[in-house]
Amino acid sequence: MVFDFKKKGQSEGGIILFNNVEEAIAAERLLMAAGYEARLVAPPPALRKGCDLAVEINLVEQTGIERLFAEKKAGYLEILPVKGKGALLGVVKVTDFGEAVMVKAGNMKLTFEKESGRVVNVSGGGCPDIPYLHACLIDKKLTEARRPKEYGYTLCSLMLDRAFIESLDIWKGNGGRS
């Protein structure tokens, strides 16, 4: 059953667009089998591209869904927020604490020690993968830790990934010492 996007109840903020109907149907099945809540919808006219069938998702789960699609080689055009300009925040802010540097991306902050490149703190965020990522990253060297988006599921983990990559660039850009 395909729902009219405007007529259904509370939207969870995200929509996946596809090249063709077959991709959309396969994606919905894949998502449901993996434990995600997803359903086929007619995309809002302003977002329509590719085929006339889309899958509605909880936008917050974008990171895990993109990874699942990559692992399963599932085809899709893009994942977009239903409202807004559709652009993920790309800008970062850097704070120098002397012995440590804090990199902020969106609502996430990662702080590493200049001398060793070791992650000393992770703060911000609010999605349930963040406390786990925090525990996994603390005391790890940036060069040895896994990227957060490889095992996070949410947009918070995607922001943490951006802070992580920027931190790594700063660390490497200074010859392994900021």
Partner: protein
Amino acid sequence: MLLICGTIPDEDFPLTIGPVAFDEESLFLDGKALSCTQGTAALVGAACKVTAYLGTEAPRALLVGDRGMGKGSRSLYEYLIRNLPSLSPRVLVLHYMLPVMGLMKRVVESSERCPRKPVLVADAAAMYAAKAAGLAPRFDIFTPDHSEMAFLADPEASHPAYVSRHLFESDSAMIPELALAAHRHGGAAKMLVVKGATDYIVEDGRVVGCVSTPDIPALEAIGGTGDTITGMLGAFIHAGFGFREAANLAAKINRLSGLHAAATPFTKIRHIIAAIPAAIEECFPSNFVTQQGPDVGDLS
């Protein structure tokens, strides 16, 4: 009852509700030990410190394991939807959980079926869900940081990752304007406690207080220092303090805890939490004795 709800990073931890004990290193809920780390555990730990100091009832926690896939979070929402009217907490703090707007809406509706509507406090992704679902004005208090304040002020963003760049890049001096914008388009709770270099206390879009001393810049880097403010705030309100006084105390004590812990970017949140009693002592007369305070609904 002060009821704190959130997730912990252990997929095997079942949905559990009960009073929480805290022994400096670990939280104990239903006989199970939990590490007091960044997230809801830090919030609960800070609340426990306040209730222990004041001699008030220990917080109850509703916790579940979830590493991001959302299964635990959904069970938590469903439990609240079914049981809030019978639990009828005086203060309900919603924290780390997968933001699911449809379920959050049903939780708020359930809270409104309590014999007496709880004081609703949201932080972290519970706040994201409440704002994105258009439920913010039905909450009493949100506790955002600066970037989350930008999110609340952006009428179209459903998560801080999609906030408009110009709002994200706004200077902290813009927080009063962001708070007013959030209030005007329905993105703010009745009170906001905006955590940052200066902590702003905002009521109905208007700044009514600021806390900026002691100035401990390293607190921003330490994971959990926002959680501790929210936990203390909930505990003070439950003890009968007015919202504004509770917000002032929570912000001030958090900073003093950082001072007592000699906070640096390397400090861990458990060291900040351990310093809370000394910080409270500094704020109150040494012979301070708590009475169950005035009706929270009557505070102004």
